[in-house]
């Protein structure tokens, strides 16, 4: 079975973009240019990544290039998280730490225990899955903990006034933030296969791999993602809640965004 759709196949798939553009035009959504631009951008980005991966994964090249690629992914992801929640002080170093720890733990388990063989072809995609899937949850937990501590200032200070440490005073809000960030991933893990065939498995099946083999890889990937999301959100949640208190257990002032 062939998995190569070829350039002509890719060109034909653009018909589907044309369908979306036509629908937007028909219903006057005004999204035609945005959709065309988004599709063109996605194609250009993917081609650029493909060329770069081709270079990095060349059999003659040292694994150091792949590790460098992983480091770059961690830095880019931390930057994206920081930009998506600018109101939170010191989020960049926290996100950097979170993705580094999550990636390190995931890769140590997957490669250290021999689930996958260490190779550029496994390293980059698995690190990518770890980091990419943790990003949304990381932004969510950072925002949630920040907003809870900002909006429930009176409750938090009432706890502090009773002699609680800042860690104790923050605990209920940290817990609720972590639960909020983790539940979507748990739901996805539960529903996997029932509605949506997840990405890795779809890709493998399209590439002609036996479905049972594809399932084994996919299950490992799901567990990898769940572990990574839990690790990254815990690091960021703890970090944000620490940063919002002074060493002498005072809650710092947090600005509310201007209305509108």
């Amino acid at each position: 079975m062939s998995s190569d759709i070829g350039w002509s196949g890719l060109a034909v798939s653009l018909v589907l973009v044309a369908v979306a553009v036509a629908l937007s035009f028909w219903r006057r959504l005004g999204l035609e240019r945005t959709m065309a631009w988004a599709s063109a951008r996605a194609l250009a980005q993917l081609l650029a990544v493909g060329v770069a991966l081709d270079l990095v994964l060349d059999p003659g090249r040292t694994l150091a290039w792949s590790w460098l690629w992983v480091v770059a992914m961690v830095v880019v992801a931390a930057t994206v998280v920081h930009l998506r929640a600018r109101e939170i002080p010191g989020l960049f170093p926290l996100a950097l730490a979170a993705f580094s720890v999550a990636t390190a733990i995931s890769l140590m388990v997957l490669f250290g225990l021999g689930v996958f063989e260490l190779d550029g072809r496994t390293l980059i995609p698995l690190a990518g899955l770890t980091i990419g899937n943790s990003m949304a949850a990381t932004v969510l937990v950072a925002r949630r903990v920040f907003e809870e501590l900002r909006d429930k200032r009176e409750e938090v200070e009432a706890r502090l006034a009773l002699g609680h440490t800042s860690a104790d005073a923050a605990r209920p809000y940290l817990r609720s933030g972590l639960r909020t960030a983790l539940i979507p991933q748990i739901e996805t893990t539960k529903a996997v296969g029932l509605v949506v065939l997840p990405g890795a498995m779809t890709g493998l099946i399209l590439a002609g791999v036996d479905p049972i083999d594809a399932v084994r890889v996919q299950a490992a990937v799901m567990f990898l993602i769940l572990g990574a999301v839990a690790t990254a959100t815990t690091v960021v949640g703890l970090g944000v809640s620490r940063r919002l208190f002074t060493p002498d257990h005072r809650l710092v002032r947090m600005e509310r965004p201007a209305e509108g």
């Binding site: 009176e154 409750e155 009432a158 706890r159 009773l162 002699g163 002074t246 005072r250 809650l251």
Partner: protein, 124 residues
């Protein structure tokens, strides 16, 4: 007894917050029995200086849960005694639920089954 009076915004709350270090002064010192509070351990200071906020901020759960936030190991006997001292013993049971309505009004409701069956309308 010392009473501090002043128009709103004059800093009465800030003064109190400075006393138990919920706020740190940008200049000057705050003294408690002659000692600069900046040199006192904040958690011990706060356990010594009780603070009643302008707006009551009860926590979710029962009256007992609320008392346990201050003293996690409080025995029911001691908790009842505390309610008595606050003149709440007649009206409140430890298992009553505490609800806060908007505007800071506090409502107590009876046991868990009653709490589940009652509906609450919020006045804005």
């Amino acid at each position: 007894m010392t009473v501090v009076v002043g128009p709103s915004g004059s800093g009465k709350s800030t003064l109190l917050r400075l006393c138990n270090r919920l706020e740190a002064p940008s200049s000057g010192t705050v003294r408690f029995h002659g000692a600069d509070v900046a040199g006192l351990e904040p958690l011990r200071l706060r356990r010594r200086v009780g603070m009643v906020f302008q707006r009551p901020t009860p926590f979710a759960g029962t009256v007992r849960d609320n008392l346990r936030i201050a003293r996690p190991d409080v025995a029911d006997e001691d908790a009842k005694e505390a309610l008595e001292r606050a003149d709440l013993a007649q009206a409140r049971r430890l298992a009553d639920f505490v609800l806060v309505l908007t505007g800071g009004r506090i409502e107590f409701i009876g046991a868990a089954d009653e709490a589940a069956s009652r509906e609450f309308l919020d006045e804005q």
